[in-house]
Symmetry: D2
Subunit: 342 residues, 4 copies
């Protein structure tokens, strides 16, 4: 349920409205949506409550059939939104590249890679510490030790760090180390996790599920924003299709479709889509040409020995070449690679 | 990593092996797999540990390249496994039908439906109390109140109850009320949840993800069994394809494929696959003809007023007709509808 | 464009209407659709022609926005239609099984298989003489020699024969030998071929394309019926999805969906869907349980030496077992296996 | 079957080899493949023939298990191949843009569009005269009248013309009017048509089927080249997936995958993939960034009145803007838009 406040609703009226709703066991979140202010009401309202809210002073209307995603819809803002992560702005004029290994494996591995990607122009460092793996017998990540290494790499390179969160109970721990929480593809519809990252302030990188429509991605983002955290960046990373030549099918059309439907920034992950190193540069360039605000790319100093996703990780040299290619396209489109302030 | 124990491994040797592995920060689970006994080792072993384990008395071999799912593979048992839920055996000679509403909505709704499905031969009652919903603004379930109503319906009808669990922290609460925990499609690769339901003894109904392969379903089941809970029932409920005439595409072939690859029981959910009431009887009959051990079907006394999944819910009359049709096929194949002991 | 004739349209008026339309360079076909008679007008009518036709005596209305498939829609007939092929009725009370090798390879191969499948209750013989193959270097079929062998097998066994047609120019040749023309999956939207088989009287087995929706299948059938041949049988044979455990994904839901939307008979091809012999019996049984009017199954006396589709071809013994299983389900549903009159 | 000729095979030996093979009722095609010369043998060789061919003077080896697509494989040539159409080279350094309406509708429509796209830098004109339509009641194209209009537009603008061929019997007619024959998605596995366009010299634009793998596309191209026509250009135009926000899912990864596997030029069709005008510029730019050799784009002067594909056709202004965007990316990558010699 969504309540729209009237333009001349006073602050006192607004507070009374929120108190009234919460007194009925519901959660509320107030936000900007278009020119007006809306209150999203989450929970199961009792029959007749909508009418009661509609009658309160300061309420313009109550919609039981809510617009599908009032907070993240394109119409909710006059301009695209930007998300600041550490020193970096995603969604602004520049193109932001996040790079790093699939998994944090060791100090030397992480620092080698972090220094190399920083040198080539990446502005944030990625690295998994808690790894969701298809098999229970695969490497599951270094856990807190991995997070500590990410923080160390940040100290060494100045790059903010992004890492995947797989459960609500890990958020406090992760927030001691990381600058951006990634919600991975397999958790895109883990609604408890979405609500949990929505109830805290660290920016969120939300990856589209392998099986999820663009609408479902936007509704997943709505869970986060409606819970209170507007700092959400979307990421297309390949969907499942019948084609087996690639690991996923990069749905490049998702970029312009998302740009029409939402104000949130959009990244492309060419690595998971391709599943194969040699395809990554082309897909990265295509992503930027399609209008994405940036990229997240897997890089490894010795990909053949990687504990996960080696075949799709760029070598350090491959990353340098990719950045050169991407830079050309980004420059041509007036969206040069973003730089971290020295 | 998997360690196979030798046939003449003593109990003292076995205990020493487990202590040794656990002393290196890893979790172990011992189980039957084929004729032998294996120890699944979960976590990230340090380099060289495999060799050290292989040298312990009582260990026959250590496999770093583990078979993909040693516990749930067909070869792990001499016969198909059965799972007892309340008074009912799933996977035995009889055909088990689980039925009930998508969501628990009220006492009268639930009791009306429960009595009707019990009368027509359902042996377990389904009903959602914690609902994973695509939109944050949709009905999210009654929570504990819904669980209490399920327990009440069990008292009234004698039917054991099945309900979906969406987060590890809810398991203790759910276990006070339900007989079987459902892990839903959207959580099939929520590995924390899989491990959590594996670390407790209540039987688990594991639904295949909308875009998960059969191999991934088996690996998800392996997470549960490797964590200690062998009481897992699989469920095919429709996958995503390009066809839009149905909500999902029921992958009927998954039944014989699963029967070849695993000893676990397999159910069919015709309701979610179809998304449309009129298709449910045909798909239910097809599922049993394909060799499934049972069905899970959504039923509602007033589907047009249902808070979720109304269009695909059978009416009470429709359920009676479906049971008659399914009963004919089940009888013809020598797998009559199971009955609850009076 | 579709013109509906009025109930009291005279034969002379009808003839005049048709002459008028044809004089404008269009093709017409008159058929039963529901209670009334409609004229389908194929071609590109000049502007204003619709109004001119609507004004002719005997015309009730002209619809520019034609119903999608007026001839094959369920509403077009008061009862499901049946298609007679040789001595066999498809779509009646009985269940019709078509069986035989993927490709006709030799006289001894074909006769061995034909006799065996006839003995086990198949009522029509399938066998490919013109094979559409993914690679130009694969076996392309025996051509007319293969057709002649099919006719020989018919003489020996009394079974009518079904074979695939791949081009309009082959139809006269094929009609000298076969009783039913199959339009294969890869040609489901070869509209010239559809029109060509529509302009001759031999019954047509129309297989759904790997990539085709149920709506597209019905529109392909409409091409055939609108061109003059109402003897069309539809066949679901597996669609493409992300799942790789099977060759195709048998869309079992297509059976009840088609039964709701069209009066045409529907078969299931479990062999191509499965791609693997061991899965065929379960899928065949599921197809009948779902309401299909019959099956088309690949059988080979020595499948390991087959020139095409060996892995999915049943052995002669496997076919016998499958027929026993299918017979049980068919009997239970009151649709026993059809028999050829002795 | 493939025979490789030895390096010192004489012309007389080669002629004798071909005569020998043809005398056994098989078709042959000689071509360059890698450093050597190969003879592709199409048809069904009798048992033992391979050994007989292998024993002929000048034959180095015979491969029954042919490489999947010896003629179109990347290894078959030392450099990417180029295809000349009218004055234009596709696959060279420049980026070739083909543009025009979905269907030829009238002289004024076609000439208006042709002049506009020529002015903005398109180098070939597309336009359908024989339209494969899902419904028999949709506009089916103007036929020869449409071809004549295309020839007229060529005269007016100097642009070579591309049009779809739907049946072998139309080829002689089409060759009187067009410069390039398009084989459409629905006919990608119409093997008779592939062979027929392979047995004549006009260049072929081969579009990937909606649900065809990249391997199947390459095998379809092999049909054409093995039949004698090496002038083949491939085109990715969107595949089917579960996503409904777009008409197809543009498989952008197909570009780098094809570039690794074949020497043939590759185009992108953003119009059919998108199904929606507003998405076309982004997809066009992405296609070039991914490495495609050009684009084929639908343009209409009054798209709202188009007889087919209006929603996805760019307006004339939209095409101008798209060309500006595409030009920037093409320039940045050193592959400027090709120009027609004045």
């Amino acid at each position: 349920m969504i309540a729209s406040l009237s333009d001349n609703c006073t602050l006192a009226q607004k507070a009374a409205i929120l108190r009234f709703i919460e007194s009925h066991g519901l959660r509320v979140h107030v936000g900007e949506a278009g020119a007006g202010t809306i209150v999203s009401i989450i929970g199961n309202p009792e029959p007749g409550l909508g009418e009661m809210i509609a009658a309160l002073p300061g309420v313009e209307s109550v919609s039981l059939e809510a617009p599908r995603y009032p907070f993240v819809a394109r119409e909710a803002r006059s301009a695209p939104s930007t998300v600041r992560v550490s020193d970096v702005v995603i969604g602004g004029r520049g193109t932001a590249v996040i790079a790093g290994p699939c998994s944090v494996e060791s100090e030397s591995q992480l620092l080698t890679i972090a220094r190399a990607v920083a040198k080539e122009g990446a502005v944030l460092l990625r690295g998994g510490a808690f790894k969701p793996r298809t098999s229970p017998y695969s490497f599951q990540g270094l856990g807190e030790q991995g997070l500590a290494l990410l923080a160390l790499a940040r100290e060494e390179t100045g790059l903010g760090v992004v890492s995947e969160v797989v459960a609500p109970e890990d958020i406090p721990l992760m927030n001691r180390y990381v600058d951006m929480l990634q919600v991975g593809s397999r958790n895109m519809q883990n609604f408890r996790l979405l609500s949990a990252v929505g109830e805290q302030p660290t920016p969120v990188l939300l990856k589209r599920g392998l099986m999820s429509t663009i609408e479902e991605l936007l509704l997943a983002a709505e869970y986060i924003v409606a819970a209170g955290n507007p700092r959400v960046v979307l990421c297309e990373r390949g969907i499942r299709s019948f084609e087996t030549a690639t690991r996923g099918t990069l749905d490049i059309s998702a970029v312009p479709v998302l740009k029409e439907r939402t104000h949130l920034p959009v990244l492309i992950d060419p690595s998971h889509a391709a599943g194969k190193r040699s395809l990554v540069p082309s897909l990265a360039a295509a992503g930027i040409a399609a209008g994405a605000d940036g990229l997240i790319i897997e890089v490894h100093d010795r990909p053949d020995e990687a504990l996960s996703d080696g075949p799709q990780s760029l070598t350090l040299d491959g990353f340098a070449e990719t950045m050169e290619l991407v830079g050309k396209v980004a420059d041509a489109l007036g969206r040069p690679l973003a730089v971290v302030p020295a």
